[in-house]
């Protein structure tokens, strides 16, 4: 039995399958490696766009342009603020609403849940939402990143199902000691919900960090643009103007756009890549909770 198993392990299928999986890893990692290599390449090499495994001529010129670019760094700041504030507000608000909703003695609970569920099935869509944001004064306003993203039905359901796993006796004993509902929530329930808070925070943070579309839709002033929206304009609309001007001033014509693109892409992705190994298991957990619910 033992022998048979060992024999099977080195069969042609195992070798082929292992190679295939290695190929998957390669295909998955190579795009980011490509950006990394070209961002470190000297501008001339990056312009050629040739396939290199390592930088041919190591140079940090592109990064120095990116880090000296005031508008890009402002975009970085806006994105960071948006991610921190947006995530904190989303998690706090959703957690509180979900706690109220999870109380079975809540008067009107059935109606509230119906109101919440309908938002999942039907929505006004792009144009009415856009008009509403304008009417609410959220157009070209930093708050457009925060307030409309305060709540999602999906995350509320995740919170609610997690609260259900917290033993009632914990809450009851706090109640006996005279704690209010808010006291129970903040002193007992939330400290015991750190796993789900971590998961939802991460999803929210990744959304805020990666989203470019809200910026395209609602932000007009240059100094309110998040980093990803700037990248969208640089890459998809090829509007290099500001950065290119700055680069020209600093390096003359010898710094073509490509390497700056790669360097700014790298700067925009670095936080995700840096945290990814530590956070990925929380992200998986989030999907699993969602999958069971969904």
């Amino acid at each position: 039995m033992e022998k048979r198993r060992r024999l099977r392990r080195i069969g042609a299928f195992e070798i082929g399958n292992t190679l295939l999986m290695l190929a998957v890893c390669f295909i998955t990692l190579y795009p980011m490696w490509f950006v990394f290599v070209n961002s470190l390449n000297s501008p001339q090499q990056a312009m050629l766009g040739t396939v290199n495994w390592f930088p041919k001529e190591l140079s940090l010129d592109s990064y120095s342009v990116v880090f000296n670019d005031k508008s890009l760094m402002n975009g970085f700041y806006i994105t960071t603020m948006r991610t921190v504030i947006g995530t904190a507000v989303h998690v706090l608000f959703t957690a509180i609403v979900a706690y109220g909703m999870s109380k079975t003695n809540l008067i009107g609970r059935k109606l509230y849940l119906k109101i919440a569920l309908i938002t999942m099935l039907f929505s006004g869509g792009l144009i009415p939402t856009f008009i509403l944001m304008t009417k609410l004064g959220l157009y070209d306003n930093f708050l457009v990143f925060i307030i409309p993203a305060m709540y999602t039905f999906f995350n509320m359901v995740i919170f609610m199902s997690f609260y259900r796993t917290i033993p009632d006796s914990l809450e009851e004993s706090a109640k006996v000691d005279g704690a209010s509902d808010y006291g129970v929530l903040f002193r007992i329930v939330l400290p015991n919900s750190m796993a789900v808070i971590a998961t939802i925070s991460l999803f929210s943070a990744v959304y805020h960090w990666n989203d470019y579309y809200q910026g395209v839709l609602y932000i007009r002033s240059q100094d309110q643009l998040p980093l990803q929206t700037m990248l969208y304009k640089i890459i998809a609309e090829n509007s290099m103007s500001l950065i290119q001007q700055q680069a020209m001033a600093q390096f003359g014509a010898r710094l073509p756009g490509n390497s700056i693109k790669f360097a700014s892409m790298m700067v925009a992705t670095l936080p995700i890549l840096a945290f990814y190994p530590f956070i990925q298991r929380y992200l998986i957990k989030g999907v699993m909770i969602g999958a069971i619910k969904g």
Binding site: F34, P128, I131, M150, Y213, L231, A268, L283
Partner: protein
């Protein structure tokens, strides 16, 4: 009755704390979900954003008539269905295949590493991933170099400027980015299969493919069914972040999906009422598809989505 009602009001105020947790959420939903629904009414008006809504004249179904006679609208339907169908037929099985093959890896460390790496691209923004795609497909890009080195093409092709490649570009870039992530749910379903089933099958002399077919696939069939039904019901949607990033004036003929059409008509050309009319129909059809999906799922597997 009267007494009961006052009792209810009293009870309501007695639980003001939990009520004050929920009501802000309800207010948020009313403002950000229900008000936009109400605003769908401008589909029947000649609405101008500068005036209050009720001062705009009602025009009945004018905008609906306009868009059903617009060739560009039907083109956007064709593009949406085209891209969705490719994704559905050729894209849907790939995460399942990946999960099945990953499951055959015996070395747990290697397996976990492959899995972790495979869903990394999901967390990279479409601006970045789209930027890489555009660079690779462009002049002197990786794809051109590879195809020329392998002898598939003689000259460079500007893939993203030629509309005929666009659907395939969305398919391949989406597969590259999302396969690992979509596989998670299948991998979890496979992990939940009772190992006893495999041992019994092995004793009965079932080979690898038989075990894969009769045990693994049969066990995850409900998961596959539900995800497939959901995918079918989402056929009118498109990955907006992706298409918005990859589209340009040259490939618009094939790139303009229904959602992009709504965006272009409403926010680029400023035809708010016209676009909202399209949105209105799109929302109703999408809702119908969702109910149909839910019904089918209930009939087939006994599981429903909501």
């Amino acid at each position: 009755m009267f007494q009961h009602r006052t009792g209810l009001i009293k009870a309501f105020f007695r639980q003001w704390q939990i009520q004050s947790m929920v009501i802000p959420g309800i207010i948020w939903m009313v403002i950000f979900c229900y008000l936009p629904m109400l605003w769908l009414i401008i589909a029947f008006m000649d609405y101008s954003i500068a005036k209050p809504m009720l001062e705009s004249p009602f025009v009945g179904l004018k905008h609906f008539e306009d868009f059903v006679t617009d060739d560009r609208f039907w083109r956007s339907i064709r593009n949406t269905l085209g891209m969705s169908s490719i994704k559905l037929v050729l894209g849907f099985p790939i995460p399942i295949l990946f999960a099945l093959l990953l499951n055959e890896i015996r070395n747990m460390r290697f397996k976990r590493t492959v899995q972790t790496i495979s869903y990394l691209p999901h967390f990279i923004a479409w601006t970045i991933f789209g930027g890489i795609t555009l660079n690779w497909l462009g002049e002197g890009g990786v794809v051109n170099q590879l195809m020329m080195a392998l002898g598939f093409q003689e000259r460079e092709i500007l893939f993203n400027s030629d509309p005929k490649y666009f659907w395939w570009i969305t398919y391949f870039s989406d597969t590259l980015k999302e396969t690992g992530w979509s596989a998670i749910i299948y991998i979890a379903a496979i992990a939940g299969i009772d190992p006893g089933l495999y041992e019994a099958a092995e004793l009965d002399g079932a080979n690898r493919w038989q075990r894969m077919w009769h045990i693994t696939i049969q066990s995850i069939r409900p998961t596959i069914a539900i995800l497939f039904i959901l995918a079918v019901s989402g056929i009118l949607g498109s990955n907006f972040d992706q298409i918005f990033m990859l589209k340009n004036n040259m490939n618009m003929k094939m790139a303009e999906s229904l959602d992009l059409y709504i965006y272009n008509m409403g926010l680029v050309s400023g035809r708010h009422s016209f676009s909202t009319a399209v949105l209105f129909v799109r929302s109703i059809v999408a809702l119908g598809l969702l109910f149909l999906a839910n019904y089918t799922s209930k009939k087939l597997t006994g599981d429903s989505i909501f």
